[in-house]
C-alpha cells in the first residue's frame, strides 16, 4: 500500500510541531517546507528548504501532486488570489488556515455561521486595511467563490504551544520573559474580565489531522478550537502559579500608547470570545473531554519551555516601553509624585469619565467658543511648526530648537506643536531635562486640530516626519501632510522633511495610499526635503514629472558652532567636563563599545558613551552638545551626532544604521564633501579609522556656507520676507 502524501507549507511553527507527528500517526508521509535549514528528515518526514511565498519554489514543490496541502503561510490578499489556482489544482484537498479573529463580536458562543467583521463592521478606516482578521476573511471569500471546491477552511483560536504563550495581545517574549526576569507585565485592566478561548496546539493538530482527506470536510469551514473559555484574569492566574507572573494594571488608553496594533485589541481581545466546537468534534469524532484543559496545557508547555527558555522574539521595543512603567526606581519617584494608589486612581478615572459624559453636552458649547478664540489668536502669529515630538531623542530636540531659533532671528513668530505620544506617560525623573529645554527654547501648544486652525503658515519638519513607523494610525501619520487644516488659503510648507529611507515601501507607505498622499502634497505651497532620495519620493507620490521639491539643510546645520557654544556657556553645565572621545549611540552594541575603547587608547583612554535609555534621567541637551564641542573624536550612529561632529570640526566615524535609515547619512556626507569611508560598519577597526584620510574642514565650511545660503533663502521665499 502506498502511503498518502501530505504537504505542509511553512509547517515548523507552533501548530506544525504537533501536526507533523499527528499526521505520521495517521499513517501519512509528510513533507514540510521551511525557510530554515537544520531540520532532520526521517523515513516518512521530509523537510524541504525554501520559502513557500516564493512562487517558483511553490510551483516546484506542488508539482509532485500531494494528496493534501495544509497552508500555514500568511499572504497579502493580492498574493493569495494569484496563487489560489495552482494551490487548488495541485492537490485533492487544500486546507486553508484562517483565524477565529474573522468573527465579529457575538453574545453567545461563536459558531461557523456567526457574522464576520468583514461583513458587518462599520469602521470604514478599518475596512480599508488588510489587517489580519480582514485579510483572512477576504481570502476565505476567494476560496468560497472559486470554481474548484476541494478546499477546507480551518479557524484556530489563540493557540498556545511549546514556545507560544499569550496573555491578551502579549506574547511569550513579554509575558514569560518579564516573569522570569521578575518584572511586572503591564496589562490593560479593562481587558482582564473579557473572555478568551485559548486552544492547545496539540488539540488543533489532532483536529486538523482528522480533517485531512476527510470527505466530509471538503467545501466546509471548521473552528478548530476548544469550547473551554476563561477570562484573561484567570489565564493570568495560571501564569502566576507556573512562572510567577505579576501584573501591573494600567488603563486601556495608556496601554494603547505603548502597543502598536489597536485593531487586534479593539476587534478581538476586547470582545468576549467563546466558541462552539460541535461542528469540528462531529467531523473528527473527537469529544470535548479529549481536549487538553487550559490549566493543564499551560502547565505542561511552560514546564517544557522552562527547561531551556529560548524566545523566538524578544519584543525588545515593547519591553522597553513597559520598563518605564515597572522599573522600581522610576516607580518610587512616581509614587512620591502621585501618592494615590493605582487602582483608586483608575476607579476615580472611570467615575470621572461617566461624569464627563453628562457635562459633555455643556462643554461642547464652551469648546466652540474656545476654538473661535484660539483661531483668532493664531492669526496674530506667523505660523506654527509641526514635527515629531521625540522628547527621548536629542537630535529631534536640537532640530526643533534650530528651526525655531532661525525663524526668530528672521523676525517670524512661530508656535510649536507638542505631539502627544507614549512618552507623555513617562515622568520627569527621566525626561525632566529634555522637557525643561523644550519649554525654555521651543515652547509648545498641545495637538488639537480644532485649536490649530487660523495660522497663516504651517511648517512641517524637519526629522523623519514622512516615514510611516510600524502600524501608526493613518490619522496620526497624515497630520504631517496637514490633513487636518481647514483653511485652504494658509501656506503649507515642508522644511527638510525626511522619509529616512530610499523607497516608499521601506518608508512603510502602501501603494494604495499614494494617491491620497499625492493629493495632500498637492495642496502644499512649498516643499523641501532633507534627502535627495526624499525629493524623488515626493515626486513619486505626486506623480510629478518635474521635480516639485528642493533639498535643504537639516535645521541644525543652519546655525553655527558659535550659536551652540553660546547655548552651552549660558547653561548650568558650562563648566562640567566631558571626554576626549565622545560617543553618542542610539543602538548600543558590544562592537561599538569595543571600538570606542580601542579608539580611546590614543586619547588617554578618556572616553564617554552617551546612550540614552529610558530607565535613567537624561542629561541636559546642552551637556549633549558640549560632548561634541569639547571632544577630539566623535563616534556615533546618529544623524544628528554626525551633524554636530561636522559643525564642531571633529574627527569622527558614524555607524551605518540601516534599520533607522541610511539615506540620510549618505546625503549628508555627500553634500559636505566628506568621504563615505566615514560611514562604517560594525566590523571597522581602530587602525582602519586611524588611517582614514583627514577631513578638509575648509572645504566642508565652504560647502556648508553655500548650502546654508540657499536653504535660508528658500525658507524666506517660502514664508515671504518679513
Amino acid at each position: 500500500m502506498v502511503k498518502k502524501r501530505i504537504l505542509l507549507l511553512g509547517g515548523t511553527g507552533a501548530m506544525g510541531v504537533y501536526l507533523v507527528p499527528e499526521l505520521l500517526k495517521q499513517g501519512y508521509r509528510v513533507d514540510i517546507t521551511t525557510r530554515s535549514a537544520g531540520y532532520r528528515s526521517g523515513v516518512n518526514v521530509r523537510y524541504i528548504q525554501g520559502n513557500a511565498c516564493d512562487t517558483d519554489f511553490l510551483v516546484q514543490v506542488l508539482a509532485s501532486n500531494y494528496d493534501a496541502v495544509v497552508d500555514f503561510m500568511v499572504y497579502p490578499t493580492t498574493e493569495f488570489s494569484k496563487r489560489i489556482d495552482i494551490l487548488l489544482e495541485s492537490t485533492s484537498q487544500y486546507i486553508f488556515l484562517s483565524t477565529y479573529r474573522v468573527y465579529a463580536d457575538s453574545k453567545g458562543p461563536i459558531r461557523e455561521s456567526s457574522p464576520r467583521l468583514l461583513d458587518v463592521s462599520e469602521d470604514k478606516t478599518y475596512l480599508e486595511t488588510d489587517e489580519y482578521a480582514l485579510q483572512k476573511a477576504r481570502q476565505e471569500d476567494i476560496l468560497r467563490t472559486h470554481a474548484r471546491k476541494n478546499w477546507t477552511i480551518v479557524r484556530p483560536s489563540i493557540t498556545y504551544s511549546k514556545n507560544r504563550f499569550q496573555l491578551g495581545v502579549l506574547e511569550a517574549g513579554v509575558v514569560v520573559r518579564r516573569s522570569l526576569e521578575g518584572k511586572s507585565v503591564v496589562f490593560p485592566m479593562e481587558m482582564l474580565e473579557k473572555t478568551t478561548t485559548m486552544t492547545w496546539a496539540g488539540d488543533v493538530a489532532k483536529m486538523i489531522s482528522r480533517l485531512v482527506l476527510n470527505d466530509s470536510a471538503l467545501q466546509e469551514d471548521f473552528n478548530v478550537v476548544t469550547s473551554e473559555h476563561h477570562t484573561w484574569s484567570e489565564v493570568a492566574r495560571y501564569y502566576s502559579s507556573n512562572i510567577g507572573l505579576k501584573i501591573r494594571h494600567i488603563t486601556l488608553e495608556r496601554f494603547l500608547q505603548i502597543y502598536d496594533n489597536p485593531y487586534q485589541v479593539q476587534y478581538d481581545r476586547m470582545y468576549n470570545r467563546r466558541m462552539d466546537n460541535s461542528k469540528v468534534l462531529a467531523a473528527t469524532g473527537l469529544e470535548q473531554g479529549d481536549l487538553m484543559s487550559l490549566e493543564q496545557g499551560l502547565r505542561r508547555e511552560l514546564q517544557y519551555f522552562l527547561s531551556d527558555p529560548k524566545f523566538s522574539d524578544l519584543h525588545q521595543e515593547l519591553n522597553n516601553r513597559m520598563d518605564v512603567f515597572t522599573d522600581v526606581s522610576v516607580q518610587k519617584i512616581r509614587k512620591k509624585l502621585r501618592p494615590r494608589s493605582r487602582i483608586r486612581e483608575a476607579r476615580s478615572k472611570i467615575r470621572i469619565r461617566n461624569r464627563l459624559k453628562d457635562i459633555k453636552q455643556k462643554t461642547r458649547i464652551r469648546t466652540r467658543l474656545k476654538v473661535l478664540a484660539a483661531t483668532r489668536q493664531n492669526a496674530q502669529k506667523d505660523g506654527v511648526i509641526l514635527t515629531m515630538n521625540s522628547i527621548f531623542n536629542y537630535g529631534n530636540v536640537a532640530q526643533r530648537y534650530a528651526l525655531q531659533t532661525v525663524l526668530k532671528e528672521y523676525g517670524y513668530t512661530f508656535d510649536n506643536v507638542n505631539m502627544p505620544g507614549w512618552y507623555d506617560a513617562v515622568g520627569d525623573e527621566i525626561f525632566g531635562e529634555m522637557r525643561h529645554f523644550v519649554a525654555k527654547y521651543i515652547g509648545g501648544v498641545p495637538y488639537d486640530p480644532d485649536m490649530l486652525q487660523g495660522y497663516g503658515a504651517y511648517i512641517v519638519g524637519s526629522d523623519q516626519v514622512w516615514r510611516k513607523w510600524g502600524d501608526v494610525d493613518w490619522e496620526v501619520y497624515t497630520r504631517y501632510f496637514f490633513a487636518f487644516i481647514k483653511d485652504s488659503q494658509a501656506k503649507r510648507i515642508s522644511y527638510a522633511a525626511s522619509f529616512g529611507v530610499d523607497s516608499l515601501s521601506e518608508a512603510g507607505i502602501d501603494s494604495s495610499k499614494v494617491d491620497e498622499l499625492g493629493e495632500l502634497l498637492g495642496r502644499f505651497t512649498a516643499i523641501s526635503v532633507r534627502e535627495k532620495s526624499g525629493a524623488q519620493l515626493v515626486d513619486e507620490l505626486m506623480s510629478a514629472k518635474v521635480s516639485r521639491s528642493s533639498v535643504v539643510l537639516d535645521p541644525t546645520l543652519l546655525l553655527t558652532s558659535k550659536n551652540y557654544s553660546d547655548l552651552i556657556d549660558e547653561s548650568k553645565v558650562s563648566d562640567t567636563r566631558t571626554a576626549r572621545v565622545f560617543c553618542y549611540v542610539i543602538d548600543q552594541t558590544d562592537e561599538k563599545k569595543r571600538l570606542v575603547q580601542e579608539v580611546a587608547k590614543d586619547y588617554g583612554h578618556d572616553f564617554y558613551i552617551l546612550h540614552p535609555r529610558f530607565d535613567r534621567e537624561y542629561e541636559p541637551v546642552e551637556w549633549w552638545l558640549k560632548g561634541f564641542r569639547d571632544s577630539d573624536f566623535v563616534i556615533t550612529d546618529s544623524f544628528h551626532g554626525t551633524v554636530f561632529a561636522i559643525i564642531n570640526h571633529k574627527n569622527f566615524v558614524v555607524f551605518n544604521n540601516s534599520m533607522r535609515g541610511s539615506a540620510r547619512f549618505e546625503t549628508l556626507l555627500d553634500s559636505m564633501g566628506i568621504s563615505k569611508s566615514r560611514l562604517v560598519h560594525s566590523d571597522v577597526t581602530a587602525s582602519a579609522i586611524k588611517s582614514m584620510q583627514l577631513i578638509d574642514w575648509a572645504e566642508v565650511d565652504a560647502r556648508l556656507e553655500a548650502l546654508r545660503g540657499t536653504s535660508l533663502e528658500w525658507l524666506q521665499s517660502a514664508l515671504g520676507k518679513k
Partner: protein, 546 residues
Amino acid sequence: MYTTDKSAQIVLSLLKQYGIRKIVVSPGTTNVPIAMTVQNDPWFEVYSVVDERSAAYFATGLAYESGEPVVISCTGATASRNYLSGLTEAYYRNLPIIALTSQHHVADRRDLTPQVTDRSVSQNDIKKVSAMLPVVKDTEDFERCETLVNDALIKATTRGGGPVHINLLVDSSYPFTQQPSDFIARKIQYYDDELISHCMKDLKNELKDKKIGVFIGSHRKFTSDELKSIEQFADSYDVAFFTDHTSNYKGKNQVLIAQIFGALRSTNKPDLVIDMGGITGDYDINSALEGIDVWRLSEDGEIHNRFHRMTKLFDSKERRFFEILVGRKNSKHSYFKSLATEADRFIVPEMPLSNTYISGRLAATIPANSNLHMSILNSLRNMNFYPLDKSIDASCNVGGFGIDGPVSTLIGQSMVHEDKLYFGLIGDLAFFYDMNALGIRHVGSNLRMLVVNNNQGVEFRLNSILEGHWGEKTNDLIAATGHNGSVKAWAESVGFRYLSADNIDTFDQQIDEFCSPDVGSFDRPVIFEVFTNTDDEQTAHDLIRM
C-alpha cells in the same frame, strides 16, 4: 628540492616531530621523494649504503650505538627483501628501525609491472606493525595516512620499541618544489603512565575550564575502584559522560547519546573529548562530536582514532589515568547540568506498536538487577533512547556486529547467575539465524526472550537514504522480507513458554507478567513474540527522533 607528494610529506613531517634524524638511503627511483628531500634538509643526518642488506644492519649499529631510531629507505624490486635479516635482528633486540619501502602507486604485480613485489604479508618477527600508506587523494586518505604513520612511529619507540614497516606509494611524476615545505602533519602525542605523571600539571591545565565530554564505547563492566577514580575525576573538572547501554557506565554525570544527540539534536558540544572503550552501535555520536579534539585512552596502547581528531594517546590503565589527573574537588558540573536540562525535554511520544515502543516499555518494566541482551542493530538502537535502572547490565554483540549469535550469547550469559533474570530483545532475522541455540540443554528458566518479529530486517526500511531510493523495493533482497514465519512451534517444541502479541493492548497486558521480578514465576524459559509491521516501525522511528 623538496617533495610535494602528500604521503611522503606526512612521513617526513612526523619523523621530525618524533625527533628522528638518522636515515640510511639505498639507491633507487621510487624512494626519490625521500632521498631528494632529506638530501636538502639539514635536519636529517643522511647515510648512503648501496646494498639494502648491509643498510639494515648498518642501521642496527647506528641505532644501538646512538640510542636513536633510524630510518632505512629503499626502492622496489627485491631491495626490501634484503632488509629481512637486519629487521629480524632488530626485532629480537628491540631496536627502533623504521623500514621505509616504496612503490609506484599505479603498480600491481598481477599486471607484471616490473619491480613490484607483494609487501602485504611479511614475517611476524621482523616488524611490530606494517603500515601500507594510501595515495592521498582526499581528506579521508590524508587523515588515514597521518594515523598510520603516527601509529608506526609510536610503536617503533614505545613499549620497548622495535622495527616497524612503512610502505609508501609514490607518484612517478615526482612532484617537488624548490622551497622547503612548511607543512606540518598532525602528531599524536603518546603518553604512558610515566609521561602522564611527568606532564600532569600541563594536562590538568588543559582540562581546566573546558567542557569535557568523556565518550565511552562498549566496555566491560567497570570495577568499583575504576568507578571511584572516574567519579573523582568528574568532580575535579567540568565533565559529562556520553554513553549508551553498552558503555556499562553507571557512575555520575551520565547522558544518553541517543537522547541528547539523536532525538534532541543538541548542539551543546564539549570543548574536548576523552574517548575510551570499544566499538559503539550509537552512530549519532560521530556527527555530534565532529571537529573536536580528542584524547584517546587505550588500555591496549593502540591508536583507535574513531573521530579522526586525536591529539593525544594515553597508554594507561583507565583507573591510573583518572587517578593521576584528579584535581581539586570543585567542579560545578555545569556542562553536565546543561545537558541534563536539555535531556529533560526528551518526551516519549505516543506511538504505534513497534520495536521503539516495545523497548520503551521493556526498559521501564524490566526488574532491577537483571541482565539485558539486545541484538544488532535496531533493538540496540531503540533501547538506547531509554534510561535503564543502574542495577541492570546491558550488552550487545557490537564487537563483530553480527546478527548471527545473540541468542547463543544470551544463553551463555544466563548460565552464570541462575538466580538472575536474563532478558533478550532480539529481531526476527537475528533470532532465526541463531534459533538452534534454544536447543542447548543447559537453558534455564531464568531466560526471557522478547522477539520482535516484523517479518524482515526492518533496519533497512528505517534508513532514510535507502528508503528515499527504493522504498518497498528494499524488501526483496536487502531487508529479506517473508522468510521465517513464527517462533511459536520451535519454541514450544524445545519446552519454552510461548507468549505473543500483535497489538498494543495485548502487548501491554502481558509485558508485566513477562517482566515479573520473581525468577521462579515461570517454570521454563520464556519467549514473547511480538508482531509488528513496517509502517508502524517507520512511524515510531520518526516520532521518537522528532
